[in-house]
């Protein structure tokens, strides 16, 4: 914890040092950026854009998980599915996110649905790969144990498979969140009239670096909060049965 705090302070210090050397139009200092951020919040516009973006992040993440998790599990468990689908997962992963966004906006229209579809489909392959690799590690000997003890197929899925897959679902949720929010910003820049991505692009066009950094900082802080405070706690509670690993 102390180490984390120390490294954060070091980065802020380096930022401060660099901002003294460069003109403020290129790199405004931390203090100036924070001021702009606080002014934005005081203006009352921040929460509207932030909520729009968070909504898209959540919607996109939900779609990505809904598609990526089942496909990944099936690929991890079934060799036939693995052989049939692995090429397509690679293809889906290779297509740049910009292509998904453009296609979604053209085919579905410049609306919220298109944005969420673009975000969800772009990140689904990464989640699939994450789960596919993870599911390969699960202990299949436990399935035989359950069968010997007369467990039905459904009981095996629910009580032997699912608890083993859950850690990988949680991991891919955290990992997926990291991808999804980057894509969300891109999608907003391309075809939405609000959100953090829209703001970033707007201030970029006005060449207002302090604003660009302020919005970046805001969003990073929010995502860090979700990751460190919400997801890690949830994970700790869900996996209390695991031997504790201290790093």
């Amino acid at each position: 914890m102390l180490l984390k705090l120390g490294s954060m302070l070091a980065v802020v210090a380096a930022w401060f040092g660099l901002s003294l050397l460069l003109p403020a139009t290129v790199l405004p200092g931390p203090w100036q950026t924070l001021n702009v951020l606080l002014e934005n919040i005081a203006d009352g516009q921040v929460h509207q854009h932030l909520l729009a973006t968070l909504g898209r992040v959540l919607g996109g993440l939900a779609l990505a998980m809904a598609v990526g998790v089942p496909v990944g599990i099936i690929m991890g468990l079934n060799r036939f599915a693995e052989k049939t689908l692995d090429v397509w997962v690679m293809v889906a992963l290779t297509v740049p996110s910009l292509c998904y966004a453009i296609l979604a906006f053209i085919w579905i229209g410049l609306n919220e649905t298109a944005a969420i579809v673009a975000i969800g489909l772009t990140s689904a392959p990464s989640i699939t790969i994450n789960l596919w690799e993870g599911v390969k590690n699960i202990d299949t000997r436990l399935f035989k144990m359950a069968r010997v003890f007369n467990a039905s197929r459904w009981v095996i899925v629910r009580r032997v498979l699912f608890p083993q897959v859950l850690p990988y679902i949680m991991a891919s949720l955290r990992f997926g969140l990291g991808i999804v929010w980057k894509i969300t910003v891109l999608v907003e820049l391309l075809g939405r009239p609000d959100g953090v991505g829209f703001q970033l692009f707007y201030w970029y066009q006005l060449a207002d670096m302090a604003q660009v950094l302020a919005w970046t900082l805001l969003f990073t802080l929010v995502m860090l909060f979700i990751e460190l405070v919400i997801l890690q706690r949830l994970e700790r509670r869900l996996f209390a049965w695991r031997p504790e690993v201290r790093l």
């Binding site: 000997r141 436990l142 035989k144 144990m145 359950a146 069968r147 010997v148 003890f149 007369n150 467990a151 039905s152 009981v155 009580r159 032997v160 608890p163 996996f239 049965w241 695991r242 031997p243």
Partner: protein, 264 residues
């Protein structure tokens, strides 16, 4: 009348592509008898247990539990408790919940779960560890817990697939003695697979040595119980068993060598 929980296997044949693993095996295990199956690797021990426990229905021949025939593809007509080489516990469940998992899928009415668990947790000395998670248990304790799980469902027969081979010798010895105590108390029919001749001799009423998919030889262990590990008579029988086992392994090797030569 006492229920008959013997096992009768007749003319059991199991083939994998290009290989006959069980070749007309005949085997009977009497009601309440403790039979040890000894054999070199690849002699069909695990295949036999898979068939008997209903996991593998692709075989020829007949299997009876207490006179009731097993229908291929159906469940065995007897309740089976199983011990694997590893404990195979569900790591996210406490010791007690692991036993509950087996009970939930058994025919034991819920009203009796409490008594049954009390009994077997006490019998295995695990009473103080009911709330522990598997990773908090030692190897020997985890295997004891899997014994509790196997006994809790009130099995007609117990199948044990090299259950002590992953433990250090001291722990294994203790567990063998405890297993015999539990067997005396419960009178279960036990089929115990091992490749340790002295373990087989110490535990079994009878040691059946398998080789090339059939019975190579069988040896009755007529040493009175309770047995002592260092009993000279037991050691003598053990030596015979060991010699038979080596003989069976060599016969299997010769057969394999012939097989490879003729196929070239």
């Amino acid at each position: 009348m006492e229920a008959d929980n013997g096992i009768r296997v007749e003319g059991l044949i199991k083939e994998f592509p290009g290989q006959r693993v069980l070749d007309g095996l005949n085997l009977t295990v009497g009601n309440g008898e403790f039979v040890c199956l000894l054999g070199p690797s690849g002699c069909g021990k695990s295949t036999l247990l898979n068939i008997l426990s209903g996991l593998d229905s692709d075989y020829r021949g007949s299997v009876h539990f207490g006179g009731r025939p097993m229908v291929p593809g159906g469940k065995p007509p007897a309740t089976i408790g199983y011990l694997f080489q590893e404990p195979r516990l569900l790591p996210w469940l406490s010791a007690e919940r692991n036993v509950d998992f087996a009970l939930e899928n058994s025919r034991v009415p819920r009203s009796r779960w409490g008594d049954i668990k009390d009994r077997y947790f006490a019998l295995t000395g695990l009473q103080p560890f009911r709330d522990y998670y598997p990773h908090e248990l030692s190897g020997g304790m985890a295997q004891r817990l899997s014994l509790v799980r196997a006994l809790a469902i009130e099995p007609d027969v117990l199948f044990m697939d090299e259950p002590f081979s992953g433990l250090d010798e001291l722990t294994a010895r203790r567990l063998r003695v405890d297993l015999l105590d539990i067997w005396r108390e419960t009178g279960k029919t036990i089929l115990f697979i091992t490749h340790n001749s002295y373990e087989a001799t110490f535990l079994g009423d009878r040691v059946v040595v398998l080789s090339q998919g059939g019975i190579h030889n069988q040896i009755s262990v007529d040493v009175p119980r309770p047995r002592d590990y260092d009993d000279a008579a037991l050691f003598q029988v053990g030596k015979t068993v060991s010699a038979t086992f080596i003989e069976a392994a060599e016969a299997a090797e010769r057969a394999r060598a012939r097989g490879t030569r003729s196929s070239h």
